[in-house]
């Protein structure tokens, strides 16, 4: 019983690793693609690479496949990935932050009357 639970937990962890790897790899594919129409083909190729090993059952083989794929992903990571402008590292990050609450501009200062 314990082995079944252990097996299922291991499979769940492997599935999560694959999902996260596919997400990172898909984003990286978009970083490498200069145009959208190039990205669609690359994304489809990436998906095919994952689909070839869809029916592998042996947990040890799966672990090895995931390790290989993660190593390949790390080797081909884009050096300057796209970052959403407001996110940390993005081009608008901490640019022109809004003034703190309670600060206001008095436009007619000194000429109130």
């Amino acid at each position: 019983m314990a082995t079944t639970a252990g097996y299922l937990a291991r499979r769940a962890a492997q599935k999560e690793r694959v999902r996260l790897l596919y997400r990172s790899a898909l984003k990286d594919t978009l970083n490498w693609a200069v145009h959208r129409h190039l990205f669609y083909q690359d994304a489809s190729d990436l998906r095919d690479k994952f689909e070839t090993n869809r029916h592998v059952e042996d947990p040890d083989v799966i672990d090895r496949l995931i390790d290989d794929a993660e190593a390949q992903y790390r080797n081909f990571q884009h050096p300057d990935p796209y970052i959403v402008p407001w996110a940390p590292g993005g081009s608008k990050f901490t640019r022109n932050p809004p003034p703190p609450q309670g600060i206001e501009i008095i436009y007619n200062y000194g000429k109130e009357n």
Partner: protein
């Protein structure tokens, strides 16, 4: 006497924004520009929940593996729409692009249905 006191007193008090102050600000040449800048700022695009639901349903309907007639705001990606886990990853990435979001991996992994996606996007301050 009163005329002499008035500027001296005014120099030391600050009025909170009032209709008079607002009118004075509106009279300022830069006020119109300021209003426009706020309206065009992507950070202040407060999208309504209805808009979020509409656009999310559209994203799902345009995914090639989804049957558009099955999409409704209560749908679960895998149970109702027949997507697998990698398709779900693709859908979440499409949602990120639609709303110009960057969802951390661990959070993106948990979004597996439209109600969750609606909740996440509608509550995200940067969703645009």
């Amino acid at each position: 006497m009163a005329a002499a006191l008035r500027p001296a007193i005014l120099r030391h008090i600050r009025l909170s924004p009032s209709p008079v102050a607002a009118a004075a600000a509106a009279a300022h040449p830069y006020s119109l520009e300021r209003g426009l800048a706020r309206a065009m700022s992507s950070h202040d695009a407060h999208i309504t929940r209805d808009e979020v639901v509409d656009r999310l349903v559209d994203v799902l309907k345009s995914h090639p593996k989804v049957d558009p007639s099955k999409v409704n705001p209560e749908a679960h990606f895998e149970k109702d729409l027949g997507l697998d886990s990698l398709d779900t990853v693709e859908v979440v990435m499409a949602i990120e692009e639609e709303f110009k979001l960057e969802i951390p991996d661990q959070e993106a992994d948990k979004i597996d249905s439209l109600p969750l996606a609606i909740e996440y996007v509608a509550n995200h301050p940067m969703a645009a």
